[in-house]
């Protein structure tokens, strides 16, 4: 190649570059002017209006639950048990509102795993009570504590009867220990958010693995996976050729698994839209010119929530008596999951990398 040939090449490349720039400038006039998107404002909205208040709410509900539980344990009767149930349900519903935010300190502490790995392992719990020795802080103990363990200890068929047995005092202490641990975990996460994590969270506007935006999109998909699997699909026998495992459903003894599922998905939609504040992941999608996708996701959320609401509570009974309704809801959860895991993840450039864990 001689020198003049090289000049020609350079000239050609320069010309092509200019052409491209000209072309893309031309494109711009057609498109809506794009001034970017304020990711910091979005994250601030999540921290201040959604996540931190949800933890504050969880603390309040657990405090209320604790005093109600103590009242019940003082005089365990059918009446006090009935009075306790709505307060327990309230706290469990509040858990669904923090469930999607398992990131940062909650992720470090494995908050969801310790608060809500269901079904609880009744045999291990009984063992702990009769031995009166246990360590609830190890990861292997997730099935011996949290809401599912309370559900079993407070509302299973023989709950009252067992409190009357010689091991009754041990049992009461175990319930109180579980509650104390739940409170401590939530307090730690809440305090962490208030002290240091909030600043880290809103300052990190990346979208890579482990960043708040990456985490949020991952958690949306993860929660839907949990809804499809442990909350509905597994007890419904989806993995077992139709053999039902109703006792594996969430809050099986309390009998309000349906309400929990609806609350879970409603909270998820709230998280997706940033509580319709104009500062949510949904608005980020709009800024990325994915209006249609966002509209479809919102429509799918509403459709799925409606289908879930249509199933009479508890799910455990409907798995036999309302198969058509369960099937319909399951179908829509799956469609929503696909939208989230492929379309939304793809549009936001987020990689779905969540790790596996048992149950919730």
């Amino acid at each position: 190649m001689n020198l003049s040939g090289k000049k020609t090449w350079l000239g050609l490349i320069a010309a092509v570059m200019l052409f491209v720039i000209a072309c893309s400038e031309g494109d711009k006039t057609e498109a809506v002017p794009d001034n970017g998107f304020d990711k910091t404002a979005m994250l601030t909205n999540y921290a201040d209006n959604l996540i931190i208040p949800a933890y504050a709410g969880m603390e309040q509900k657990l405090a209320a639950l604790e005093s109600a539980v103590n009242t019940f344990l003082a005089t365990p009767t059918t009446e006090t048990q009935q009075a306790l149930k709505p307060i327990f349900k309230e706290a469990y519903l509040q858990f669904q509102r923090i469930s999607v935010y398992q990131l940062g300190p909650a992720e470090t502490l494995l908050l969801n795993n310790f608060l809500n790995t269901f079904p609880a392992d009744a045999a291990l719990i009984e063992n702990n009570i009769s031995n009166n020795t246990y360590n609830l802080e190890v990861n292997a103990a997730t099935k011996q504590q949290g809401f599912p363990a309370l559900d079993y200890l407070l509302f299973s068929d023989q709950a009252l009867q067992k409190l009357d047995q010689p091991t009754g005092p041990n049992r009461k202490k175990y319930v109180q220990d579980i509650l104390a641990r739940m409170k401590a975990l939530v307090n730690t996460v809440h305090a962490n958010w208030n002290n240091t994590y909030r600043a880290q969270f809103i300052a990190n506007t990346r979208a890579d693995v482990g960043s708040p935006i990456g985490f949020l999109v991952n958690q949306f998909a993860y929660e839907l996976d949990q809804l499809k699997g442990p909350r509905i699909g597994w007890p419904y026998g989806k993995q077992s050729g139709g053999t039902l495992f109703p006792e594996k459903s969430e809050a099986y003894y309390g009998g309000f698994s349906g309400s929990l599922a609806v609350e879970n998905l409603t909270s998820l939609k709230k998280a997706y839209t940033g509580n319709e504040s104009g500062k949510g992941i949904s608005d980020y999608l709009i800024a990325l010119k994915k209006e249609q996708l966002n509209t479809d996701v919102l429509r799918q959320f509403d459709l799925t929530i409606d289908k879930l609401k249509a199933i009479p509570d508890p799910l455990a009974a409907s798995f036999t008596s309302h198969k058509d309704l369960v099937d319909a809801a399951y179908r829509e959860v799956q469609n929503l999951l696909t939208l989230m895991k492929t379309d939304v993840a793809s549009a936001t450039g987020v990689r779905i990398t969540y790790q596996d864990s048992d149950g919730d």
Partner: protein, 425 residues
């Protein structure tokens, strides 16, 4: 006249490369004849690889070390196609080439210990092979970018860049359409033409400056591609003249460990016949190298969608593809359906990689059929419901959900059970 020492310098890149490897240990999923060797076995394999790389760098027991490195590295690479990366393939190829080249005759312990005659010149084609290999990587990566999505729609850059708005100074620009076009076109032109500028003596320094800028930029913008930019930055040094490398080596020489061949050393003592044999091997090697990236032409349908003929073709950072796949195992006798929890068997990365690649989906389907049969399901039929979104377009059904994948065989032919690509939004 070129020096055999050229290649060695650039082995330094492999040492850093080795530090990055440990992620390999955790991802075993061997359906191919190559199987992971268990915890201890894999550690020994990596130790062997590290030793081989060290020996190559020192130039001690060079040929044996090259063979060892090539075999161990390629073995590990073959264990799991989840981990397929273009630069791993690149390293495999280069180590194969090095087996045949006398890179232990100049600045090497093999010379110090009198195991080899010192040589200070090799036939030009020997360095040429390495240059050609590096050149092919760039050129094919460039050709791969010549497609409608990349050039005309700036996809997937338009998707990836807004995720980088946190970057200092350039952050706000990431939402601009023209920036996405600039990145796309610059990337394509760079890949296509950089080799020619590197080959030309006068443009070489400027071209190498571009190499640095380009690869450091990609490392900054797309940290997920790992060591690839650094591998290429070091590999490209092979284009520099012998004088440049001699200067570099002279500074290392002060350690006194190595001896640089004296200028009056004999030329390469190859017999003509051996030389011809070598040339034939390397000729066949490059013939295949040029053909393999074009094998996609033999398949009907969209390359990005079907990914038939996608790997081993230097298609780097070309598309944004995400998928979601559900498997259903049906027992024809009872009509029972078992939905599969993929993560019972797969790591998140494996599941992610599988969900967009037909051959991996089929492999997993076969594995499921086997597993469920062992659990007592008679004649299990495996169906997949899979949705894939390509380059930010809406997700589409990817696999024909009515096809029993347990009865489809793995092959090099076109898979008819992968649904055709629909481009419309």
């Amino acid at each position: 006249m070129m020096l055999g020492s050229l290649a060695r310098f650039w082995h330094k890149g492999w040492i850093t490369e080795l530090y990055v490897k440990p992620s390999f240990y955790f991802t075993y999923q061997g359906f191919e004849w190559v199987r992971p060797l268990g915890y201890t076995g894999m550690h020994l394999l990596f130790a062997g690889m590290a030793l081989a790389a060290l020996l190559i760098t020192l130039g001690l027991f060079y040929r044996l070390a090259c063979v060892l490195f090539f075999l161990t590295f390629t073995y590990v690479e073959l264990i799991d196609s989840t981990n397929y990366l273009n630069h791993y393939y690149f390293i495999s190829l280069i180590s194969f080439l090095l087996i045949w080249l006398p890179a232990n005759h100049y600045f090497a312990l093999d010379v110090t210990f009198k195991r080899q005659h010192p040589i200070n010149s090799v036939p030009r084609w020997m360095v040429g092979t390495i240059r050609l290999q590096v050149g092919l990587v760039y050129f094919f990566a460039g050709i791969a970018k010549l497609n409608g999505d990349w050039l005309l729609r700036a996809l997937p850059m338009k998707i990836w860049l807004p995720a980088k708005s946190h970057l200092l100074l350039v952050g706000p620009l990431m939402y601009e359409t023209w920036v996405a076009y600039l990145f796309s076109w610059f990337g394509a032109l760079y890949d296509l033409f950089i080799v020619f500028f590197l080959l030309h003596r006068k443009t070489r320094p400027a071209a190498y400056f571009l190499v640095l800028v380009f690869h450091l930029a990609t490392a900054l913008f797309f940290p997920s591609i790992g060591v690839f930019p650094y591998v290429m930055i070091l590999s490209s040094l092979v284009f520099f003249s012998s004088a440049f490398h001699q200067r570099f080596l002279a500074t290392i020489q002060r350690t006194g460990l190595f001896r640089i061949a004296k200028l009056n050393s004999p030329a390469l003592p190859f017999k003509p016949r051996a030389n011809q044999f070598l040339l034939t091997i390397i000729g066949i090697f490059f013939f295949l190298q040029v053909l393999i990236p074009f094998r996609f032409l033999l398949y009907p349908g969209s390359l990005f969608w079907h990914e038939e003929g996608f790997r081993f073709s230097w298609r780097v950072m070309l598309m944004e593809k995400s998928g979601n796949v559900f498997f259903y195992v049906k027992e024809p006798g009872t009509g029972k359906t078992y939905e599969v929890n993929n993560r019972e068997y797969l790591s998140p990365l494996q599941e992610k990689m599988m969900s967009t690649q037909p051959d991996m989906i089929l492999r997993f389907a076969h594995f499921l059929a086997e597993t469920y049969q062992q659990e007592g399901i008679k004649e299990p039929a495996v169906y997949a419901e899979c949705y894939v979104a390509l380059n930010g377009r809406r997700s589409r059904l990817f696999i024909d959900p009515t096809v029993n994948l347990a009865q489809q065989s793995l092959s090099w032919r076109h898979y008819s059970w992968v649904l055709p690509y629909q481009k419309s939004e």
